[in-house]
């Protein structure tokens, strides 16, 4: 076994630096990719497991009417399901690459997801603390969570893909 494969997820508890972290999604739409983020979220790495939440009402896209549509029952249904959650346990590390089995809870549905990602090992920051980075992705079928909206293109093909990539880029600070 190489040294790299023996590296572990750092122990202790690490809380998210929200300013320097992003929780978002990307989904193929027509000829490109539509992306959005959640401005209000939380995440914590503790004893090798990662847990997080995001407030659906904080979804940010480039058009306020679209943001309103995303919060409606057609999509996230923020009124009834104001928060989405994710959890990754048993994170496996090989070098700096990560894989984990996780759970994503969205619109009242919890589904198993496979998470892949990358870790930036702990490093001292200028403020006397220590921080690490996690970049994680999970691909999910949005229709499994009841997000079924679509519209056909003139070709008859659907405008919006069912496959959504959840993109999480976290900078985490060691709790003292």
């Amino acid at each position: 076994m190489s040294y790299a494969t023996r590296q572990a997820i750092p122990g202790g508890t690490w809380s998210v630096d929200k300013i320097h972290s992003t929780v978002g999604f990307a989904v193929p739409y027509m000829a490109g990719t539509f992306q959005g983020t959640f401005s209000d979220f939380d995440a914590r790495l503790s004893e090798g497991g990662l847990r997080g939440t995001a407030e659906v009402a904080s979804v940010e896209v480039k058009d306020p009417n679209l943001a309103a549509h995303l919060q409606s029952p057609d999509f996230f249904d923020a009124e009834r399901f104001p928060q989405l959650g994710f959890e990754a346990r048993e994170i496996t590390r090989s070098g700096d690459e990560l894989t984990a089995q996780g759970e994503l809870t969205l619109k009242g549905h919890t589904e198993q997801v496979e998470i892949r990602g990358h870790i930036n090992d702990p490093t001292p920051d200028p403020y006397g603390g220590e921080r690490l980075g996690l970049q994680l992705e999970a691909r999910v079928d949005r229709t499994r969570f009841g997000l079924n909206w679509n519209n056909p293109l003139p070709s008859g093909d659907p405008a919006l893909s069912n496959e959504v990539t959840i993109v999480v880029d976290l900078q985490l600070v060691r709790e003292i």
């Binding site: 306020p64 009417n65 943001a67 309103a68 549509h69 919060q71 409606s72 029952p73 057609d74 249904d77 009124e79 009834r80 909206w149």
Partner: protein, 185 residues
């Protein structure tokens, strides 16, 4: 529990308006209060230039009626395989401003009748899509009464017990959408 009825037909003896009345009796039996809004004919064609302040009086009445209802039941005929223009126009007015419109998160259901054999099924599908886009909470139900001139009595009750049961189920599904909200309140 207040349920607003909106008919997509202006015709005096409209089968859809009568069907809505029969649905209203079911709401009443469930302890609710049902009211059909009239006056869609007075709503002007949507023009953003006119959508200033609180808007034209018939629009104010429509928006206030929707805002004051706990749920809305639509009954629509089908014109050229789609929604009657007067109904679409009313929804277009009601859906502005989009982010705060009174249909947003409002439980709604769609039923329909036609004198042809299909019972306005395509208009209903399009209406559900439109309502979903406004942000409404669209109940997963459908009632398509074809040959309405033969299948509804003079008061709009389905003559066929199976269709009568289906009407009851559609109303019950709409009212069921209210339960989680009431429990959460």
């Amino acid at each position: 529990m207040r349920v607003l009825g909106i008919s997509g037909s202006l015709r005096r003896d409209s089968h859809n308006t009568k069907l809505l009345g029969a649905a209203g009796e079911i709401v009443d039996r469930h302890g609710g209060r049902f009211e059909v809004i009239e006056g869609l004919k007075a709503i002007p064609p949507y023009d953003e230039d006119d959508d200033v302040g609180s808007g034209p009086a018939p629009v104010v009445a429509l928006r206030e009626a929707i805002a004051g209802a706990d749920a809305v039941l639509f009954a629509t005929p089908e014109y050229n395989s789609s929604i009657p223009g007067v109904l679409k126009n009313a929804i277009d007015w009601a859906s502005r401003p989009f982010a705060t419109n009174p249909l947003r998160n409002k439980p709604v259901a769609v039923i329909g009748a036609s004198m042809g054999m299909f019972g306005a099924v395509w208009a209903q599908a399009e209406l559900r899509k439109v309502l979903g886009t406004t942000g409404a909470r669209v109940a997963e139900t459908e009632l398509a009464v074809g040959h309405a001139q033969e299948r509804l009595d003079d008061a709009g009750h389905p003559i066929d017990p199976v269709e009568g049961e289906a009407l009851h189920d559609s109303v019950a599904m709409l009212l069921a959408e209210l339960q989680p909200l009431e429990l959460a309140a």
